[in-house]
């Protein structure tokens, strides 16, 4: 092909490829109502549902008798890579049997250090802790990110001991 023909062919080829690109963006522009993918966040709070495996933060479920399943065995504390779980336990004398036993005093969870890796949940032998599906965790005070997971006055459920 002569140089002149290539010159004009280049121009037309180039224009054609440019127009194909413009056709695609033009399609999305003219169908914006249908194709828009972004969500309007604070407005859709009510309908925004996280998947049930979503890892928001660690919580300890309590039943209606204010009882939980944590025996204070420290498995989660050992499994945690970042030291974001601290178990404070104490030894008490069981009033019924008279034996000394270890119970949980405070299950301290530092959300600010947590990487939400799920290792503590897997390590827990009694399924006492689980991941909550919340995601709005910003606070004005860093102290609020240190949580005590077991509620005050709560006890270990009878059937999960040992």
């Amino acid at each position: 092909m002569s140089a002149v023909a290539t010159y004009f062919k280049d121009i037309f080829q180039g224009l054609k490829t440019l127009l194909t690109g413009m056709k695609i963006t033009g399609y999305y522009f003219s169908h914006a109502r249908k194709e828009i993918i972004t969500q309007q966040y604070p407005e859709n709070r009510d309908t925004l549902k996280m998947f049930d495996r979503f890892r928001g933060r660690v919580v300890m479920p309590h039943d209606e008798n204010n009882e939980h399943a944590c025996t204070g065995c420290s498995s989660c504390e050992l499994a945690c890579p970042n030291g974001s779980i601290e178990i404070m336990w104490e030894r008490i004398v069981d009033p019924e049997t008279g034996k000394k036993k270890k119970i949980i005093d405070k299950h301290v969870y530092h959300h600010s250090m947590c990487t939400l890796c799920n290792l503590c949940i897997i390590a827990c032998p009694t399924d006492a802790i689980k991941m909550e599906q919340t995601f709005e965790h910003a606070t004005f005070d860093r102290k609020e990110l240190t949580m005590i997971l077991n509620k005050p006055g709560s006890k270990v459920r009878k059937d999960v001991e040992e």
Partner: protein, 358 residues
């Protein structure tokens, strides 16, 4: 069709009766200046908003929607924010030139907008070399970019400024040459006369393929001249952070921003005026009835529709194409646009000579 000169004449009459001829003249100038400034401020705000919305729709987003209904007040909020921001200047910056650059670029934009015919009888400055005047004045803007890029004492902005210099100087030629095809056809440099010559149809339709080619070239060169779209060499965000205005902050940055959009408007307005008949309604030859119906739509609406259309196309370019490299940009101009343009001009001159156009 409503002639705006009736309105302007009545104002002139009233002022002449109220004060001396000199006073009337000065008052008229002040009024025109204020109206243009207000128009520029409002239209730039509108354009920024439209640009952001258009970009958002191209990108499957919603765009600004928080400030005011549909985010209409977003640009106003941004403007207020820019007004209140601190002026920052690098230690070794050239203070005088650094402050001068934004004013220079805005002045150039204002000089050009004075000659734009917005509607029938609505043109502040109908000089008999209108096309020449607008292209001459709008190239002052590049001085602002060069000075701004140099004075900031930043290597990124210097690279951006030099790129912009090379770019605007080359693309000016294409823009003017493509305008010249119409000047040859219309036989006049005056904008009002060019519009008048399109009373029986716009040049884009009347002038066969050569005018279509020169229209496309004008669009490309115009995009390049406003430093936009695939030709935003001077800014080149992903290469030079913000290009020539890297060092500017606050209201001085806002001036660069303003000038960019005014220039976009001017390029679109000139394109609409010269190729699409400006405020002239869509007339087809001797279809009297059709032409008459079209005349019912006010001239100012026609002008803004056409200008808006061209602005839309330029925005479409920007949000679709990757950026060219600086040497490819110059290759495009000197190896493709310029030769085609020269041949095109020759063809148009021949057509005019033979009277082959409609």
């Amino acid at each position: 069709m409503y002639n705006f000169s009736a309105l302007t004449q009545s104002i002139h009459q009233y002022l002449s009766e109220a004060m001396s001829p000199l006073g009337a003249k000065i008052t008229e100038m002040a009024i025109i200046g204020l109206v243009l400034i207000a128009f520029v401020a409002l239209s730039v705000m509108g354009l920024v908003y439209i640009e952001r919305k258009v970009a958002a729709f191209f990108q499957l987003r919603v765009g600004p929607n928080r400030v005011g209904k549909w985010g209409l007040l977003q640009t106003l909020a941004d403007f207020l924010k820019l007004l209140m921001k601190e002026h920052i200047m690098a230690r070794n910056a050239d203070k005088f030139l650094f402050n001068l650059a934004p004013f220079l670029i805005v002045t150039a934009a204002f000089l050009a907008i004075g000659a734009v015919p917005f509607g029938l009888g609505l043109q502040a400055f109908d000089i008999n070399i209108g096309v020449f005047y607008i292209s001459a004045v709008s190239s002052i803007g590049v001085l602002g970019i060069l000075i701004g890029g140099w004075a900031g004492n930043n290597k990124y902005s210097l690279i951006g400024a030099l790129r912009s210099g090379a770019q605007v100087i080359s693309y000016e030629i294409s823009a003017i040459l493509s305008l010249l095809t119409i000047v040859v056809l219309a036989g006049d440099l005056q904008l009002s006369a060019i519009i008048e010559s399109q009373r029986d149809g716009w040049w884009v339709f009347k002038g066969h393929i050569p005018v279509l080619i020169s229209f496309v070239i004008f669009l490309i060169a115009g995009t390049a001249e406003t430093n936009r779209g695939p030709f935003d060499m001077a800014e080149a965000e992903s290469e030079l952070t913000a290009g020539f205005h890297t060092e500017y902050s606050g209201i001085k940055f806002a001036m660069f921003f303003l000038a960019e959009y005014v220039n976009l408007f001017i390029i679109a307005a000139v394109g609409a005026t010269v190729f699409l008949g400006g405020w002239m309604p869509l007339h087809i030859g001797h279809w009297q009835a059709f032409n008459h119906i079209m005349d019912y739509i006010p001239s100012i609406v026609w002008f803004f529709l056409k200008t808006g259309g061209i602005i839309g196309i330029i925005m479409w370019f920007k949000w679709t194409f990757p950026r060219l490299r600086i040497d490819q940009l110059l290759v495009l101009e000197w190896k493709y646009l310029l030769p085609i343009n020269l041949v095109n001009l020759l063809v148009v001159a021949f057509i005019t000579l033979m009277g082959w156009h409609f």
